[in-house]
Protein backbone atom coordinates (compact mmCIF):
# COMPACT_ATOMS: atom_id res chain seq x y z
CA UNK A 1 0.00 0.00 0.00
CA UNK A 2 2.99 2.29 0.33
CA UNK A 3 1.84 3.52 3.72
CA UNK A 4 4.80 3.49 6.05
CA UNK A 5 4.37 3.25 9.80
CA UNK A 6 4.06 6.54 11.61
CA UNK A 7 3.46 8.58 8.48
CA UNK A 8 1.01 11.42 8.54
CA UNK A 9 -0.90 9.94 5.65
CA UNK A 10 -1.61 6.59 7.20
CA UNK A 11 -2.80 8.16 10.42
CA UNK A 12 -5.10 10.42 8.43
CA UNK A 13 -6.57 7.43 6.69
CA UNK A 14 -7.11 5.70 10.00
CA UNK A 15 -8.98 8.74 11.30
CA UNK A 16 -10.86 8.87 8.07
CA UNK A 17 -12.00 5.36 8.76
CA UNK A 18 -13.09 6.22 12.27
CA UNK A 19 -15.12 9.11 10.98
CA UNK A 20 -17.12 7.01 8.58
CA UNK A 21 -17.39 4.04 10.90
CA UNK A 22 -20.78 4.82 12.33
CA UNK A 23 -22.24 5.70 8.97
CA UNK A 24 -21.16 2.63 7.10
CA UNK A 25 -20.73 -0.05 9.72
CA UNK A 26 -17.41 -1.25 8.39
CA UNK A 27 -14.93 -2.38 10.94
CA UNK A 28 -11.52 -2.26 9.34
CA UNK A 29 -9.54 0.12 7.19
CA UNK A 30 -9.53 -2.10 4.14
CA UNK A 31 -13.32 -1.99 3.87
CA UNK A 32 -13.30 1.79 4.23
CA UNK A 33 -10.78 2.16 1.42
CA UNK A 34 -12.80 -0.13 -0.79
CA UNK A 35 -15.85 1.94 -0.01
CA UNK A 36 -14.12 5.12 -1.18
CA UNK A 37 -12.83 3.31 -4.24
CA UNK A 38 -16.36 2.15 -5.09
CA UNK A 39 -17.83 5.61 -4.63
CA UNK A 40 -15.15 7.17 -6.84
CA UNK A 41 -15.77 4.55 -9.50
CA UNK A 42 -19.52 5.19 -9.32
CA UNK A 43 -19.00 8.90 -9.87
CA UNK A 44 -16.65 8.30 -12.80
CA UNK A 45 -19.16 5.93 -14.39
CA UNK A 46 -22.00 8.43 -14.03
CA UNK A 47 -19.94 11.28 -15.52
CA UNK A 48 -18.76 9.04 -18.35
CA UNK A 49 -22.25 7.80 -19.19
CA UNK A 50 -23.46 11.38 -19.28
CA UNK A 51 -20.75 12.14 -21.81
CA UNK A 52 -18.92 14.65 -19.59
CA UNK A 53 -15.75 12.69 -19.09
CA UNK A 54 -13.64 10.52 -21.35
CA UNK A 55 -11.84 7.88 -19.25
CA UNK A 56 -8.93 7.99 -21.70
CA UNK A 57 -8.55 11.70 -20.96
CA UNK A 58 -8.50 10.93 -17.22
CA UNK A 59 -5.78 8.35 -17.86
CA UNK A 60 -3.78 10.93 -19.79
CA UNK A 61 -4.15 13.54 -17.03
CA UNK A 62 -2.87 11.30 -14.28
CA UNK A 63 -0.09 10.00 -16.49
CA UNK A 64 0.92 13.60 -17.12
CA UNK A 65 1.22 14.29 -13.39
CA UNK A 66 2.91 10.97 -12.65
CA UNK A 67 5.51 11.12 -15.39
CA UNK A 68 5.74 14.50 -17.12
CA UNK A 69 5.95 17.11 -14.37
CA UNK A 70 8.05 16.98 -11.25
CA UNK A 71 10.79 18.72 -9.28
CA UNK A 72 13.22 18.14 -12.16
CA UNK A 73 11.58 21.09 -13.93
CA UNK A 74 12.29 23.42 -11.04
CA UNK A 75 15.78 21.99 -10.56
CA UNK A 76 16.70 22.85 -14.14
CA UNK A 77 15.54 26.41 -13.61
CA UNK A 78 17.58 26.73 -10.42
CA UNK A 79 20.69 25.25 -12.05
CA UNK A 80 20.35 27.67 -14.94
CA UNK A 81 20.03 30.60 -12.53
CA UNK A 82 23.17 29.45 -10.68
CA UNK A 83 25.23 29.44 -13.86
CA UNK A 84 23.76 32.32 -15.88
CA UNK A 85 23.59 35.70 -14.08
CA UNK A 86 21.44 37.28 -16.81
CA UNK A 87 18.90 34.45 -16.52
CA UNK A 88 18.91 34.74 -12.73
CA UNK A 89 18.21 38.44 -13.01
CA UNK A 90 15.35 37.81 -15.43
CA UNK A 91 13.99 34.99 -13.23
CA UNK A 92 13.82 37.18 -10.14
CA UNK A 93 12.24 39.96 -12.19
CA UNK A 94 9.53 37.86 -13.90
CA UNK A 95 9.80 34.11 -13.39
CA UNK A 96 7.02 33.18 -15.81
CA UNK A 97 8.60 35.14 -18.66
CA UNK A 98 12.13 33.96 -17.89
CA UNK A 99 11.19 30.27 -17.74
CA UNK A 100 9.25 30.70 -20.98
CA UNK A 101 12.59 31.25 -22.71
CA UNK A 102 13.83 27.78 -21.64
CA UNK A 103 12.48 25.38 -24.23
CA UNK A 104 13.33 22.22 -22.30
CA UNK A 105 11.34 23.18 -19.21
CA UNK A 106 8.17 24.08 -21.01
CA UNK A 107 5.59 26.75 -20.49
CA UNK A 108 4.52 27.86 -17.03
CA UNK A 109 1.41 29.75 -16.07
CA UNK A 110 1.29 33.38 -15.08
CA UNK A 111 2.11 34.85 -11.70
CA UNK A 112 5.08 32.65 -10.78
CA UNK A 113 7.45 34.45 -8.40
CA UNK A 114 11.00 33.28 -7.71
CA UNK A 115 12.40 34.25 -4.31
CA UNK A 116 16.13 34.12 -3.63
CA UNK A 117 17.81 32.70 -0.54
CA UNK A 118 20.86 34.67 0.60
CA UNK A 119 23.17 34.44 3.62
CA UNK A 120 20.88 37.04 5.22
CA UNK A 121 17.50 35.61 4.28
CA UNK A 122 15.88 32.18 3.93
CA UNK A 123 12.52 31.83 2.17
CA UNK A 124 9.85 29.22 2.88
CA UNK A 125 6.56 28.69 1.02
CA UNK A 126 3.26 27.50 2.51
CA UNK A 127 -0.44 27.61 1.76
CA UNK A 128 -2.21 27.87 5.11
CA UNK A 129 -5.69 27.90 3.55
CA UNK A 130 -5.41 24.93 1.19
CA UNK A 131 -2.54 23.52 -0.87
CA UNK A 132 -1.41 26.10 -3.47
CA UNK A 133 1.91 24.96 -4.94
CA UNK A 134 3.87 25.54 -8.17
CA UNK A 135 2.75 22.32 -9.91
CA UNK A 136 4.51 23.10 -13.19
CA UNK A 137 7.83 23.50 -11.42
CA UNK A 138 7.56 20.83 -8.71
CA UNK A 139 4.79 18.43 -9.71
CA UNK A 140 1.95 17.61 -7.31
CA UNK A 141 2.66 18.55 -3.70
CA UNK A 142 3.67 15.91 -1.14
CA UNK A 143 1.17 14.93 1.55
CA UNK A 144 3.02 16.83 4.29
CA UNK A 145 2.72 20.11 2.38
CA UNK A 146 -1.08 19.72 2.30
CA UNK A 147 -1.48 18.42 5.86
CA UNK A 148 -2.37 20.29 9.04
CA UNK A 149 1.01 20.25 10.85
CA UNK A 150 2.84 22.15 8.10
CA UNK A 151 -0.01 24.50 7.22
CA UNK A 152 -0.56 25.48 10.85
CA UNK A 153 3.04 25.88 12.01
CA UNK A 154 4.96 27.28 9.04
CA UNK A 155 3.79 30.87 9.62
CA UNK A 156 4.40 30.85 13.37
CA UNK A 157 7.28 28.48 14.05
CA UNK A 158 9.24 28.00 10.82
CA UNK A 159 12.43 27.13 12.67
CA UNK A 160 10.56 24.32 14.42
CA UNK A 161 9.29 23.11 11.06
CA UNK A 162 12.81 23.24 9.63
CA UNK A 163 14.00 21.16 12.60
CA UNK A 164 11.45 18.48 11.59
CA UNK A 165 13.32 18.38 8.27
CA UNK A 166 16.70 18.26 10.00
CA UNK A 167 17.59 21.79 8.90
CA UNK A 168 19.11 24.35 11.25
CA UNK A 169 19.79 27.90 10.11
CA UNK A 170 21.98 30.52 11.82
CA UNK A 171 20.05 32.32 14.58
CA UNK A 172 20.49 35.67 12.85
CA UNK A 173 19.14 34.58 9.45
CA UNK A 174 15.88 36.28 8.59
CA UNK A 175 13.15 33.78 7.74
CA UNK A 176 10.57 34.95 5.29
CA UNK A 177 7.46 32.80 4.97
CA UNK A 178 5.31 33.30 1.87
CA UNK A 179 1.69 32.27 2.46
CA UNK A 180 0.19 31.44 -0.97
CA UNK A 181 -3.20 33.04 -0.40
CA UNK A 182 -3.86 34.01 -4.05
CA UNK A 183 -3.07 32.71 -7.54
CA UNK A 184 0.55 33.77 -7.29
CA UNK A 185 2.93 30.82 -6.93
CA UNK A 186 6.37 30.79 -5.38
CA UNK A 187 9.62 29.02 -6.23
CA UNK A 188 12.53 29.30 -3.81
CA UNK A 189 15.91 29.84 -5.44
CA UNK A 190 18.27 28.16 -2.96
CA UNK A 191 21.88 29.22 -2.43
CA UNK A 192 24.41 27.40 -4.55
CA UNK A 193 26.51 25.22 -2.24
CA UNK A 194 30.24 25.82 -1.92
CA UNK A 195 32.41 23.29 -3.73
CA UNK A 196 30.26 23.19 -6.86
CA UNK A 197 32.35 25.61 -8.88
CA UNK A 198 32.68 24.59 -12.50
CA UNK A 199 29.85 22.05 -12.37
CA UNK A 200 27.61 21.67 -15.41
CA UNK A 201 23.96 22.68 -15.25
CA UNK A 202 22.98 19.03 -15.49
CA UNK A 203 25.11 18.08 -12.52
CA UNK A 204 23.93 21.06 -10.50
CA UNK A 205 20.30 20.17 -11.20
CA UNK A 206 20.92 16.78 -9.55
CA UNK A 207 21.55 18.41 -6.16
CA UNK A 208 18.50 20.69 -6.23
CA UNK A 209 15.94 18.88 -4.12
CA UNK A 210 12.21 19.50 -4.18
CA UNK A 211 12.28 20.62 -0.55
CA UNK A 212 15.05 23.12 -1.26
CA UNK A 213 12.69 24.83 -3.72
CA UNK A 214 9.89 24.93 -1.10
CA UNK A 215 12.30 26.23 1.52
CA UNK A 216 12.13 23.26 3.89
CA UNK A 217 15.45 21.85 2.74
CA UNK A 218 18.82 22.77 1.30
CA UNK A 219 20.54 21.48 -1.84
CA UNK A 220 22.19 18.14 -1.19
CA UNK A 221 25.78 17.65 -2.24
CA UNK A 222 26.71 13.98 -2.02
CA UNK A 223 29.58 13.50 0.47
CA UNK A 224 31.83 11.80 -2.08
CA UNK A 225 30.97 13.86 -5.15
CA UNK A 226 33.72 13.36 -7.68
CA UNK A 227 35.02 16.43 -9.50
Amino acid sequence: MGLGAGLGYSSLMAHDHDHTHDRHDHDHEHSELSETQLRVRALETVLTEKGYVDPAALDAILEFYETKVGPRNGARVVAKAWTDPAFKHALLDDATAAIGTLGHVGRVGDHLIAVENTPQRHNMVVCTLCSCYPWEMLGLPPVWYKASPYRSRAVKDPRGVLADFGVTLPAATEIRVWDSTAETRFLVLPMRPAGTEGWSEERLADIVTRDSMIGTGLPKVAPKAAP
Binding site: M1, G4, L7, L12, H15, D16, H19, T36, Q37, V40, R41, A42, L43, V46, L47, E49, K50, G51, Y52, V53, D54, A57, I61, L62, F64, E66, V69, V108, G109, D110, H111, T128, L129, C130, S131, W135, G139, V143, W144, A147, S148, P149, S152, R153, A154, V155, D157, P158, F165, E174, R176, V177, W178, D179, S180, T181, A182, E183, T184, D211
Partner: protein
Protein backbone atom coordinates in the same frame (compact mmCIF):
# COMPACT_ATOMS: atom_id res chain seq x y z
CA UNK B 1 -15.79 31.51 6.28
CA UNK B 2 -14.02 30.92 9.56
CA UNK B 3 -13.46 27.22 8.93
CA UNK B 4 -10.89 24.71 10.13
CA UNK B 5 -9.18 25.04 6.76
CA UNK B 6 -7.81 28.41 7.96
CA UNK B 7 -5.00 26.83 9.97
CA UNK B 8 -2.23 29.40 10.08
CA UNK B 9 -0.92 29.71 13.63
CA UNK B 10 -2.94 26.88 15.15
CA UNK B 11 -1.16 24.60 17.63
CA UNK B 12 -1.38 20.93 18.42
CA UNK B 13 -1.18 19.26 15.02
CA UNK B 14 2.23 17.79 15.80
CA UNK B 15 5.36 17.31 13.77
CA UNK B 16 5.67 17.58 10.02
CA UNK B 17 6.32 14.04 8.80
CA UNK B 18 7.80 13.81 5.31
CA UNK B 19 7.38 10.41 3.66
CA UNK B 20 10.57 9.17 2.00
CA UNK B 21 10.14 8.34 -1.70
CA UNK B 22 6.50 9.33 -1.58
CA UNK B 23 4.51 8.16 -4.63
CA UNK B 24 2.48 10.69 -6.63
CA UNK B 25 -0.69 8.90 -5.52
CA UNK B 26 -1.21 6.45 -2.66
CA UNK B 27 -4.24 4.71 -4.22
CA UNK B 28 -5.59 4.45 -7.74
CA UNK B 29 -8.81 6.20 -6.73
CA UNK B 30 -6.81 9.27 -5.70
CA UNK B 31 -5.55 9.74 -9.24
CA UNK B 32 -9.08 9.31 -10.66
CA UNK B 33 -10.37 11.96 -8.24
CA UNK B 34 -7.59 14.37 -9.15
CA UNK B 35 -8.26 13.91 -12.87
CA UNK B 36 -12.05 14.25 -12.49
CA UNK B 37 -11.67 17.42 -10.45
CA UNK B 38 -9.41 18.92 -13.11
CA UNK B 39 -11.87 17.98 -15.86
CA UNK B 40 -14.94 19.31 -14.07
CA UNK B 41 -13.01 22.48 -13.27
CA UNK B 42 -11.97 22.97 -16.89
CA UNK B 43 -15.24 21.98 -18.58
CA UNK B 44 -17.90 21.71 -15.92
CA UNK B 45 -17.93 25.28 -14.74
CA UNK B 46 -16.80 24.26 -11.26
CA UNK B 47 -14.24 27.03 -10.92
CA UNK B 48 -11.23 26.76 -8.65
CA UNK B 49 -12.66 29.17 -6.07
CA UNK B 50 -15.97 27.32 -5.85
CA UNK B 51 -14.04 24.07 -5.48
CA UNK B 52 -12.06 25.53 -2.59
CA UNK B 53 -15.24 26.77 -0.92
CA UNK B 54 -16.81 23.31 -1.26
CA UNK B 55 -13.82 21.77 0.54
CA UNK B 56 -13.89 24.44 3.26
CA UNK B 57 -17.59 23.73 3.71
CA UNK B 58 -17.10 20.05 4.57
CA UNK B 59 -18.03 19.35 8.20
CA UNK B 60 -14.96 20.35 10.28
CA UNK B 61 -14.50 16.93 11.86
CA UNK B 62 -14.62 15.34 8.40
CA UNK B 63 -12.21 17.91 6.98
CA UNK B 64 -9.63 17.20 9.67
CA UNK B 65 -10.05 13.43 9.53
CA UNK B 66 -10.03 12.95 5.76
CA UNK B 67 -6.99 12.49 3.58
CA UNK B 68 -6.34 15.17 0.99
CA UNK B 69 -7.93 13.48 -2.02
CA UNK B 70 -10.79 12.21 0.13
CA UNK B 71 -11.59 15.87 0.82
CA UNK B 72 -11.43 16.57 -2.93
CA UNK B 73 -13.80 13.68 -3.58
CA UNK B 74 -16.36 14.57 -0.91
CA UNK B 75 -16.36 18.20 -2.06
CA UNK B 76 -16.68 17.51 -5.81
CA UNK B 77 -19.47 15.05 -5.10
CA UNK B 78 -21.31 17.77 -3.14
CA UNK B 79 -20.74 20.26 -5.95
CA UNK B 80 -21.87 17.91 -8.70
CA UNK B 81 -25.11 17.23 -6.85
CA UNK B 82 -25.69 20.89 -5.89
CA UNK B 83 -25.06 22.00 -9.50
CA UNK B 84 -27.46 19.37 -10.91
CA UNK B 85 -24.66 17.86 -12.97
CA UNK B 86 -25.69 14.49 -11.55
CA UNK B 87 -28.15 13.42 -8.88
CA UNK B 88 -27.34 11.78 -5.55
CA UNK B 89 -29.55 8.88 -6.67
CA UNK B 90 -27.44 8.42 -9.82
CA UNK B 91 -24.17 8.39 -7.88
CA UNK B 92 -25.70 5.91 -5.43
CA UNK B 93 -26.85 3.74 -8.35
CA UNK B 94 -23.49 4.05 -10.09
CA UNK B 95 -25.19 4.88 -13.38
CA UNK B 96 -26.73 7.80 -15.18
CA UNK B 97 -30.51 7.55 -14.76
CA UNK B 98 -31.56 10.49 -16.94
CA UNK B 99 -30.08 12.98 -19.38
CA UNK B 100 -28.26 15.96 -17.89
CA UNK B 101 -27.62 19.39 -19.42
CA UNK B 102 -24.41 19.83 -21.44
CA UNK B 103 -21.36 21.16 -19.59
CA UNK B 104 -20.44 24.80 -20.26
CA UNK B 105 -17.43 23.71 -22.33
CA UNK B 106 -18.58 20.31 -23.52
CA UNK B 107 -17.02 16.91 -23.02
CA UNK B 108 -13.38 16.92 -21.92
CA UNK B 109 -11.35 14.85 -24.37
CA UNK B 110 -7.69 14.14 -25.02
CA UNK B 111 -7.58 17.23 -27.22
CA UNK B 112 -8.30 19.37 -24.15
CA UNK B 113 -5.26 18.15 -22.25
CA UNK B 114 -3.01 21.10 -23.17
CA UNK B 115 -5.55 23.42 -21.57
CA UNK B 116 -4.93 22.04 -18.10
CA UNK B 117 -1.21 21.35 -18.35
CA UNK B 118 -0.47 25.06 -17.89
CA UNK B 119 -2.14 27.10 -15.18
CA UNK B 120 -4.77 29.56 -16.29
CA UNK B 121 -4.15 33.27 -15.96
CA UNK B 122 -6.01 35.15 -13.26
CA UNK B 123 -4.75 38.62 -14.24
CA UNK B 124 -7.37 41.04 -15.55
CA UNK B 125 -7.49 44.63 -16.73
CA UNK B 126 -7.79 47.15 -13.92
CA UNK B 127 -10.84 49.40 -13.75
CA UNK B 128 -9.21 51.86 -11.35
CA UNK B 129 -5.68 52.74 -10.23
CA UNK B 130 -4.19 50.78 -7.34
CA UNK B 131 -5.01 52.35 -3.98
CA UNK B 132 -1.71 51.34 -2.34
CA UNK B 133 1.93 51.33 -3.37
CA UNK B 134 5.04 49.51 -2.12
CA UNK B 135 6.08 50.86 1.28
CA UNK B 136 2.55 51.78 2.37
CA UNK B 137 1.43 50.77 5.84
CA UNK B 138 -1.83 48.83 5.66
CA UNK B 139 -4.11 47.05 8.11
CA UNK B 140 -5.79 43.78 7.18
CA UNK B 141 -9.46 44.43 7.80
CA UNK B 142 -11.32 42.57 10.51
CA UNK B 143 -13.78 40.76 8.24
CA UNK B 144 -15.59 37.52 9.06
CA UNK B 145 -17.73 36.62 6.05
CA UNK B 146 -19.70 33.38 6.03
CA UNK B 147 -18.68 33.09 2.38
CA UNK B 148 -15.33 32.30 0.73
CA UNK B 149 -12.38 34.57 1.45
CA UNK B 150 -8.62 34.32 1.07
CA UNK B 151 -7.81 36.61 3.98
CA UNK B 152 -6.53 34.27 6.69
CA UNK B 153 -7.66 34.90 10.26
CA UNK B 154 -4.15 35.21 11.65
CA UNK B 155 -3.52 38.54 9.89
CA UNK B 156 -6.93 40.18 10.43
CA UNK B 157 -6.62 43.43 12.35
CA UNK B 158 -2.83 43.47 12.00
CA UNK B 159 -0.63 46.06 10.31
CA UNK B 160 1.83 45.20 7.56
CA UNK B 161 3.78 46.83 4.76
CA UNK B 162 2.93 46.58 1.07
CA UNK B 163 5.97 45.03 -0.63
CA UNK B 164 4.84 44.56 -4.21
CA UNK B 165 1.86 44.94 -6.50
CA UNK B 166 1.04 41.71 -8.35
CA UNK B 167 -1.44 43.17 -10.82
CA UNK B 168 -5.21 43.03 -10.85
CA UNK B 169 -6.67 39.54 -10.34
CA UNK B 170 -9.97 37.65 -10.29
CA UNK B 171 -11.47 38.17 -6.81
CA UNK B 172 -12.06 34.77 -5.16
CA UNK B 173 -14.59 36.18 -2.69
CA UNK B 174 -17.10 36.79 -5.50
CA UNK B 175 -15.92 34.26 -8.09
CA UNK B 176 -16.46 31.39 -5.65
CA UNK B 177 -20.16 32.23 -5.45
CA UNK B 178 -21.01 32.87 -9.08
CA UNK B 179 -20.93 36.63 -8.49
CA UNK B 180 -18.41 37.42 -11.18
CA UNK B 181 -14.68 37.87 -11.51
CA UNK B 182 -14.84 41.38 -10.02
CA UNK B 183 -11.07 41.93 -10.52
CA UNK B 184 -9.13 43.56 -7.68
CA UNK B 185 -5.57 44.74 -7.16
CA UNK B 186 -3.42 42.13 -5.47
CA UNK B 187 -0.60 43.09 -3.09
CA UNK B 188 2.12 41.19 -1.27
CA UNK B 189 1.84 42.46 2.31
CA UNK B 190 4.56 41.66 4.85
CA UNK B 191 3.93 41.33 8.58
CA UNK B 192 6.55 41.31 11.34
CA UNK B 193 6.35 38.23 13.57
CA UNK B 194 5.72 40.26 16.75
CA UNK B 195 2.83 42.08 15.11
CA UNK B 196 1.20 38.70 14.45
CA UNK B 197 2.27 36.57 17.40
CA UNK B 198 3.28 38.95 20.18
CA UNK B 199 6.51 39.77 22.00
CA UNK B 200 7.61 36.16 22.39
CA UNK B 201 7.71 35.57 18.63
CA UNK B 202 10.93 34.78 16.78
CA UNK B 203 12.15 38.28 15.84
CA UNK B 204 13.84 37.01 12.66
CA UNK B 205 10.51 35.90 11.16
CA UNK B 206 8.46 37.83 8.63
CA UNK B 207 5.32 36.48 7.01
CA UNK B 208 3.67 37.69 3.84
CA UNK B 209 0.29 37.05 2.33
CA UNK B 210 -1.05 38.08 -1.05
CA UNK B 211 -3.98 40.34 -0.22
CA UNK B 212 -6.71 41.69 -2.48
CA UNK B 213 -7.36 45.41 -2.16
CA UNK B 214 -10.78 45.03 -0.47
CA UNK B 215 -9.01 43.20 2.39
CA UNK B 216 -6.88 46.24 3.23
CA UNK B 217 -7.22 49.70 4.72
CA UNK B 218 -4.67 52.45 5.16
CA UNK B 219 -2.88 52.34 8.52
CA UNK B 220 -1.24 55.25 10.32
Amino acid sequence: MNGVHDMGGMDGFGKVEPEPNEPTFHHDWESRVMAMVRVMGANGGLGIDSQRFARESLPPEGYLASSYYKKWFLAIEDQIIASNIAGADEIAAGHSLRPSPPLPRGKFTLDDLPRISVRGSFGRDAKAPAMFKPGDKVRAKNINPLTHTRLPRYVRGHVGIVERINGCHVFPDTAAHGKGENPQWLYTVVFASRELWGDDADPTLKVSIDAFEPYLEKAE
